[in-house]
Amino acid sequence: MKIAIGGIKFSEELLHVLYHRAEGCGPAFEAILGALAKARINIPFLTIDGGHGNEERLVFCVAAGDAGMVETLLRQLSLVPQQALSDGDGLSPPALVVRHQVGTLTLFPHRRSYVLLGRSIAALAAAGITVHSYCTSISALAINIDYRLLPRAVEVLHGLVDLPEEHSPFRPDFRIRQLAPERSA
């Protein structure tokens, strides 16, 4: 039986960054996030896994339009991207892996149910679509895959979920951009 959901939406094209830090080597996560905030760069997706003693991992996405600035900021923090980890045997921290042309597929609502979450990821994996990362919010499931595969992912998920008849377009037709307040004299 298909799972009824409220909708699916696509993000704009994103840069996906994984930073693995251990034993206090490499810049702290707050230094990276502070540099991005100072440069007024929005982070629409972020996870931190810090529950492994001296080892911690940061994953975040930024808009593709901010990619050049983000890579410059990371270099200024002495972080140089490594080759895709799939080429090697693992991750030797501190390590930085940058993936271009990623997109977020957002399904909502998840209703805190394991079924939508588990079956969606399993279906994408079975279709050969690499899931780079995912995270739940209060009501939605955000899945990061290759940007070009977003339409293919929807085709795969059509076998799993029921969408409302008058579903809005998957791709947003507007964006919101935050400006800094002007300083008062």
Partner: protein
């Protein structure tokens, strides 16, 4: 079409901060090729409960899953079931931390605004509060900390957010 927003806030306003205590944080390291079987295992949990936070990432040859089951799921039989299920994933290394607290705050257009993640992380780091896990997607920020840290987390977050 583009909408431009300017926020005139000395501190960031939020819709609310919710906390849940006495939870478990599960972490599963698995060969990334097993992401499908790991997800299938999650789907099979549905009859037995719900989640408060789940995230995962691909680190090349390995993947990592972090899971905070719903508060109603903290029990010895439930934990035994989770251990049993996770151990069916070939090559999985499972850890569980208990008790932890989950705090989540959500605010207007958090997904479209710069500086939100730093505003949540930096005060906790300044006060040497270890962050076990953090997830930001959509309009919400989830923080997982040791249960005994909750009051300190609230005090630290009050430096940057209007709680």
């Amino acid at each position: 079409m583009e909408t431009i927003a300017v926020y005139w806030e000395a501190q960031i306003r939020i819709y609310g901060l919710t906390e849940r205590r006495g939870l478990s944080l599960w972490t599963v390291d698995f060969p990334h090729k097993e992401i499908g079987s790991c997800a299938e295992m999650l789907a099979e949990l549905d009859a037995d409960g719900s989640f408060d936070l789940v995230f995962s990432h691909d680190a090349g040859t390995t993947g990592r899953l972090a899971l905070v089951p719903g508060g109603e799921d903290v029990s010895r039989p439930r934990d035994a079931l989770l251990w049993q299920r996770f151990e069916t994933i070939p090559g999985a290394v499972v850890t569980r931390r208990y008790p932890v607290a989950l705090l989540y705050l959500h605010g207007p257009h958090f997904q479209d605004r710069y500086g939100i993640a730093e505003a949540a992380l930096a005060p906790l780091r300044r006060h040497d509060i270890p962050i076990l896990a953090m997830g930001c997607a959509g309009t919400s920020v989830h923080l997982v900390v040791a249960d005994l840290m909750v009051e300190r987390v609230r005090a630290a977050l009050a430096e940057t957010f209007v709680l």
